[in-house]
């Protein structure tokens, strides 16, 4: 804001102020700016006038709550940043709102802070938002925490009472591997121990808030760590190709050999380019650079450039400590994009290991992550993800989940690769020594899974069985997994709730994957009504998964009703039936759409057969999916 003055040539230290609603954050900041002479001329008079207009004496928080709606309702809607100066050191104060529905605003403000001031009302002690905010500090990696015990005037500045609160807050922080740098007993409203030592607490020998802020360490340099340069973009200007990106850590020099992405393409840094600057021979963490490579390879956005002897971790399943920002719960099977620096991966939640109980910060096994909750979960991608495990004070492992509408729905600090078989750490799947190429050579085609989805009665099984016949006759090693066959055996313990249907899909996908790995062509015929379930199957199966939409409209299917199920559903004898009282989400971009509403069965079969035959024998995928 223009309300403060600033002059230092150093970067400002960002400090986030967090705490439960009404524990006095905004008041603290107003007082702090005033007592340290960081306010602009006339601002105090303006606050007094604004306060008077609303029938208040003097409301320091008006300084920050400069949005009209905030002034009228007395709450902070979004985080604000205020430059602030102590001696020669610059700070940026981030004021984060305490209301739980504004969690995403707090994250926005707090994620790049060096230190936090956790404001706790000494009378009320830690409340739900205190715990939630402390949890977030832990998850986003802020380790320097100053606890300001506010409103100690209401405890008559009594040492024993104040220290009792300190003990309970300390216990809370301990559970989160956080250690308070200082506990400062204070009254923000009156200014005790803010910028000047309170004479009402002679027993307190620790620092005032401003003294504590002056002791916040400056960030450690990231230039000495191993190189990570994520590719942001590739430009072709004139006759040169530039690879642009920001060095997240480490250092790169002209002449270095680097390894690019999961393909592990080696290249040499031919030059570090710039405009209106002296030529660079090296660049380090924090710099946005454009390099040219020799040979002139073309990396993809998201590829990591690193030195050959210091590679990142690589895994297709990763464990994350999620902070979930959506107002709805999160369940297994949901699909997202995982953004990690400039990389983006399609991922599916394959398991929820544990969920945090915010009442006491214990972990419990859960099947869903509650709205704005915290949990440890596993994400699976079809391809390998290159990452470094999350570490406070570094840019490592800073995963963010976005939904299919590209909205950020959670923070996902990556903590490590996940075991292949979740839930049983003793399982180590053995790898086959027969290679995919061997199998392909013997069989004359590659293994693949064709996932036929569509309404009940659309003709999936009919189509699959007819195609199986034709393909087998043509020398293809083929088998069919259909819904009823699976439910008669492998899945007979499952009902038809959403969770059970997801489990049914998961088992079908796992079996299909094993068959595909053995070189077979698998036709799966399963209603699999939810996009997220089919995405889960795609993640499990990975390469060689092709979605086939067996498309017949509901009216036609209901008229056919080969198993009498539509009639039963209409009569209310069965519930949760797809198309009647449960949704069917049609594929948006299937690899193949076979219309079975009208027209001949033979035509549909030959369409499927030629598609399957073409894709398994061509050696490559049938076509590029958008």
């Amino acid at each position: 804001m223009s309300d403060t003055i600033s002059s230092s040539q150093d970067a400002a230290t960002p400090i986030v102020i967090v705490g439960h609603v009404d524990h006095g954050k905004s008041t603290l900041i107003g007082r702090l700016l005033h007592d340290t002479d960081n306010l602009q001329d006339g601002k105090v008079a303006q606050i007094i006038e604004s306060s008077k207009k609303r029938g208040l004496k003097i409301e320091w928080s008006f300084l920050l709550d400069s949005l009209q709606i905030e002034r009228d309702q007395g709450v902070t809607v979004d985080s604000t940043r205020i430059p602030f100066k102590l001696g020669s050191r610059e700070y940026v104060i981030v004021d984060a709102p305490g209301h739980r529905q504004f969690l995403r605003n707090m994250i926005t403000g707090a994620a790049d802070a060096e230190a936090a001031v956790l404001v706790v009302d000494a009378v009320e002690g830690a409340r739900e938002q205190t715990r939630r905010h402390a949890m977030l500090l832990h998850l986003i990696g802020i380790r320097h925490v100053i606890v300001l015990l506010n409103k100690v005037d209401l405890l008559e500045f009594d040492q024993a009472k104040i220290e009792a609160v300190e003990v309970s807050v300390n216990e809370l922080l301990g559970k989160l591997e956080l250690e308070a740098a200082y506990f400062v007993p204070a009254s923000a409203r009156d200014g005790d121990n803010i910028a000047s030592r309170s004479d009402r607490m002679p027993w307190y020998k620790g620092p005032t808030l401003t003294e504590a802020l002056a002791r916040v360490p400056t960030p450690a340099s990231r230039s000495e760590l191993a190189l990570r340069l994520p590719v942001q973009d590739v430009y072709r200007f004139g006759d040169k190709r530039y690879v642009a990106g920001r060095i997240e850590r480490g250092r790169v020099r002209v002449g270095d050999t680097v390894v690019i992405g999961t393909q592990k393409t080696p290249a040499r840094i031919a030059s570090i380019e710039g405009w209106h600057t002296a030529p660079h021979v090296s660049a380090s963490a924090g710099q946005s650079v454009a390099v040219t490579l020799e040979p002139d390879v073309i990396p993809d956005r998201g590829d990591l450039l690193h030195h050959v002897d210091t590679p990142p971790t690589q895994a297709s399943r990763v464990r994350t400590r999620l902070f979930w920002l959506r107002q709805e719960p999160l369940r297994v099977g949901e699909s997202f994009r995982l953004r990690l620096a400039t990389a983006e991966h399609a991922v599916t939640v394959t398991s929820i290991e544990s969920v945090v109980n915010l009442d006491d910060l214990t972990m419990y096994p859960g099947t869903e992550v509650p709205p704005e909750g915290f949990a440890e979960i596993t994400l699976a991608a079809a391809e390998n993800i290159q990452f470094d495990a999350f570490a406070p004070g570094t840019p490592d492992g800073r995963g963010v989940l976005v939904d299919l509408q590209q909205r950020i729905v959670g923070g996902a600090p990556l903590i490590g690769p996940a075991e292949i078989a979740v839930g049983d750490k003793a399982i180590h799947p053995s790898a086959s020594t027969v290679t995919t190429q061997d199998r392909q050579r013997v069989k004359g085609h590659k293994g693949s899974v064709f996932w036929l989805t569509g309404l009940s009665g659309a003709g999936k099984s009919t189509l699959a069985r007819a195609a199986e016949n034709a393909l087998f006759a043509a020398g293809v090693d083929v088998s069919v997994l259909d819904g009823d066959t699976l439910r008669a055996g492998l899945c007979r313990d499952l009902g038809f709730t959403e969770a059970e249907r997801t489990e049914n899909v998961r088992r079908a996908a796992e079996v299909a994957r094993i068959l595909r790995d053995s070189g077979q062509v698998v036709l799966v015929a399963l209603i699999s009504p939810l996009r997220s379930d089919r995405e889960l199957a795609r993640q499990i199966i990975g390469e060689g998964f092709e979605e086939v939409f067996v498309d017949a409209d509901l009216g036609t299917c209901e008229q056919r009703d080969p198993k009498g199920l539509y009639a039963a559903a209409r009569a209310g004898k069965i519930s949760g039936f797809t198309g009647i009282d449960a949704p069917y989400e049609a594929p948006q971009a299937p690899a193949l759409r076979v219309a079975t509403g009208n027209g001949s069965v033979e035509k549909a079969v030959s369409q499927l057969v030629s598609f399957v035959d073409g894709s398994v024998r061509s050696g490559g995928s049938a076509r590029v999916r958008s």
Binding site: M1, S2, D3, T4, I5, S6, S8, Q9, D10, A11, A12, Q40, D41, S50, S66, L67, Q68, I69, V77, D78, S79, T80, R81, I82, P83, R104, N105, I107, T108, A110, A111, D112, I140, D233, Y235, F237, A244, R246, E273, G274, W275, H276, T277, S284, G286, Q287, S288, A290, R301, L325, R339, P395, R398, V400, V402, Q405, Q406, R407, I408, G411
Partner: protein
């Protein structure tokens, strides 16, 4: 890296994200100090080029020196300049105070250009330290089809992951200078030798600290006639940068109302 290096690197990162993710993209060039810094940063990001158009939403009431500057540097910097007009003040919301009403013309002119060029991204040079409501902005700030700023429903933005458009008719306001302070802008101008309109330098005891329409912008008392003097002045001043911009001060919420409606 010193502080200016860090700011520059972050702005370059933001501009490259915008160029990669938002198409079509354009940069607002108001001819003031901040937007000149922004053009300069684009040239840093793209190796001496500005690979998207710059837009001047012309109220027709800028200072003559500003028009001269525009014509000179469009050529010198090899810019692809898009010009847009603003509707007359009579068509603006009559409930706004007079200067804000005048400023609202620019909002309408900008909206028309965004429609006309079907822009998905608009780069603008606002900074958090200019004004309280700007302090609440995001680096990538989504605007709905009506161009309104939904303060209550801003997306989360952290770890350099930015919002992208997810609906037809949406666009993103990109703010590469959001973390810069006024003094950083001046120090960077000094360090890089970035050209400026000379209205910023004192003549007869007055200079402009912020440039808007000639009729609703007033100079401040100052004897700072060089870059070094301006920087020295800013190191000690306690008056705000936009104190000479009438629309900010007419009523408590005038500026916020302008911004919610799509003003910069």
């Amino acid at each position: 890296m010193d502080h200016l290096d860090q700011l520059e690197a972050q702005s370059v990162f933001i501009l490259r994200e915008a160029y990669r993710k938002l198409k079509p993209l354009a940069m607002l060039w108001s001819l003031g100090k901040d937007s000149n810094v922004m053009v300069w940063l684009a040239k840093k990001a793209f190796l001496g080029r500005v690979p998207f158009p710059v837009m001047h939403v012309d109220t027709g009431k800028k200072f003559p020196e500003m028009y001269q500057f525009r014509d000179d540097y469009t050529k010198k910097w090899n810019l692809d300049l898009l010009l847009g007009d603003c509707p007359p003040v009579e068509e603006m919301d009559p409930s706004l105070p007079p200067a804000a009403r005048s400023a609202a013309r620019k909002t309408a002119g900008l909206a028309a250009m965004i429609e006309k060029h079907k822009l998905q991204g608009v780069i603008a040079g606002i900074r958090r330290d200019e004004q309280g409501t700007r302090a609440k902005e995001r680096v990538f700030s989504p605007r709905g089809a009506s161009h309104k700023w939904d303060i209550r429903n801003q997306p989360p933005e952290f770890w350099d992951q930015y919002a992208t458009p997810h609906e037809e008719g949406m666009h993103i306001r990109v703010h590469p200078l959001l973390s810069w302070r006024e003094i950083d802008i001046w120090r960077y101008i000094e360090r890089e030798g970035i050209p400026l309109v000379d209205l910023y330098f004192a003549k007869n005891g007055k200079r402009y600290r912020s440039l808007g329409d000639a009729d609703i912008t007033s100079p401040v008392e100052s004897n700072a006639a060089t870059l070094a003097e301006v920087i020295a002045e800013l190191e000690t001043t306690k008056t705000s940068e936009r104190s000479g911009r009438a629309m900010d001060h007419e009523s408590e919420d005038a500026f916020e109302r302008l911004r919610v409606a799509g003003y910069l």
